[in-house]
Symmetry: C2
Subunit: 275 residues, 2 copies
């Protein structure tokens, strides 16, 4: 497996490859990422993973500085999973000049976007750049970051980008906690509490499946329950899968999304439900 | 020469072509466009031209509705110039859903951008889409639209788009008027006056070449001269080629840009000068 740090070397290594499957990551890889790499491997083309902690998608006061960087361990896991090439640029390589061109996505100020101004502009911009560098036929994104997954698919559709987006199902610990690089921030006590967020999402999904259409009531009950348990909730929201707009009675294909803090750690999760 | 109206047919026609040279246009083709097609032909790859009057780059009250549409005549000229494929989608084909993803470029509120809010967002967005559809190796843009040419190159660089941008020199009538589809709007009397804009740009370039560094003075003199001759001037501006920011004494590679109205017709032009 090749590890490459510059755009020029990447271009040389890829040549005219047109069947590449691409897994963009911020590193600190867990089984969720590795599942995406295996999915990429199944496409039959060469597999490229990128590792880049993108400053453009972190806000002031967020965890850009302390975000875990573990290139050596990541490379080992990627090689084991059959990855062919790792692209790990530094910030100056990715942004050799101030990034004055940006992608302005819709829905950038709802859900996580409401709490992380500029986040999805940064995500979409770096993904567009990575697509230009790697020119993949397919790219894999985890559905744990549901709003990101939604926006990347919408960006590809609306910008007519010549790439197919595939989603990877969320991988969970045995107690239900969605795997995330940020889980490493949790204290032992917080880690025990952490599955509580997904428990609430499951509870809402069960109620929806049973015909409850009091969306606001379900959201508020979950927020109250989490708050009582010591969480600080950013949002719990029942939305439609097709538009990511708030669900209204009669909608069939829903997704329940949540973001909440345990101490200094912000966790997100979601669950799809069709009724 | 094939004429194609849908993205699906375009995809089929292009297959895996990777050497395409692309000339995006709004149609109503003149010798400036045809020179770009011949330049594309020289690259050796298949030549694709697009014809699409892009509503996204027209402001309220601008000339989107009356912009000349002359597909049959355009197709004939393109065939004569050796174009292999014309892509002429309608608005619904280009924007099958509201275009909520946009490219936000820099310098969008200076020069023409100051007088045409949203124009360069619309230009960059449609060009990004067309690049995704056509996947060209090279794309040609006329330098008459200098700010556009500058921004497209910057967008390609900053988004790492896998395409090379080539510029075509401005083609002029014998009296110096830059060819433009909008020249068709001019009355006989206005057409006679129209070379006056370029005359002023040439006068400024001559002064710059002679060592004059009173940029503001040169700009104001040109504005006054044009105004006296019956023009309504949007701007006359001396800028650096490298940044498109206002020139300061000591800068060597300059470009003088102008935009001004004759009656209901807005004309733009520019001239590069190195001192």
């Amino acid at each position: 497996m090749q590890i490459i740090h510059t755009v020029a070397e990447l271009k040389t290594a890829l040549g005219n490859a047109s069947q590449t499957a691409f897994v963009p990551t911020m590193g600190n890889l867990h089984d969720g990422h590795i599942a995406l790499v295996r999915q990429a491997k199944n496409t039959g083309g060469p597999v490229v993973a990128s590792i880049f902690v993108n400053p453009l998608q972190f806000g002031l006061g967020e965890d850009f500085e302390r975000y875990p960087r573990t290139l050596a361990a990541d490379a080992e896991k990627l090689a084991d999973a059959g990855c062919d090439l790792v692209f790990a640029p530094d910030v100056a390589e990715m942004y050799p000049e101030p990034q004055t061109f940006q992608v302005q996505p819709p829905l950038a100020d709802v859900l996580c976007g409401a709490f992380r101004p500029g986040h999805f502009t940064g995500v979409c911009t770096v993904v567009l750049k990575l697509f230009g560098m790697v020119r993949p036929r397919q790219a894999m994104f985890g559905k744990k970051d549901y709003q990101q997954w939604y926006l990347i698919r919408a960006m590809v559709r609306q910008f007519n980008l010549p790439v197919e987006i595939l989603g990877g199902e969320t991988i969970r610990a045995v107690d239900g906690l969605a795997l995330s690089s940020r889980n490493a921030y949790l204290s032992e006590q917080e880690r025990k509490q952490a599955p509580g967020l997904y428990d609430e999402l499951k509870r809402i999904c069960a109620a929806l499946a049973a015909g409850d259409e009091d969306f606001a009531g379900l959201e508020i009950a979950a927020i109250n329950s989490l708050t009582k348990a010591g969480w600080r909730v950013d949002y719990i929201s029942i939305r439609t899968q097709a538009t990511l707009m708030p669900a209204t009675p009669g909608d069939r294909h829903l997704v329940v999304l949540g973001a909440a803090w345990l101490g200094k750690t912000r966790l997100i999760d979601n669950r799809e439900v069709s009724i």
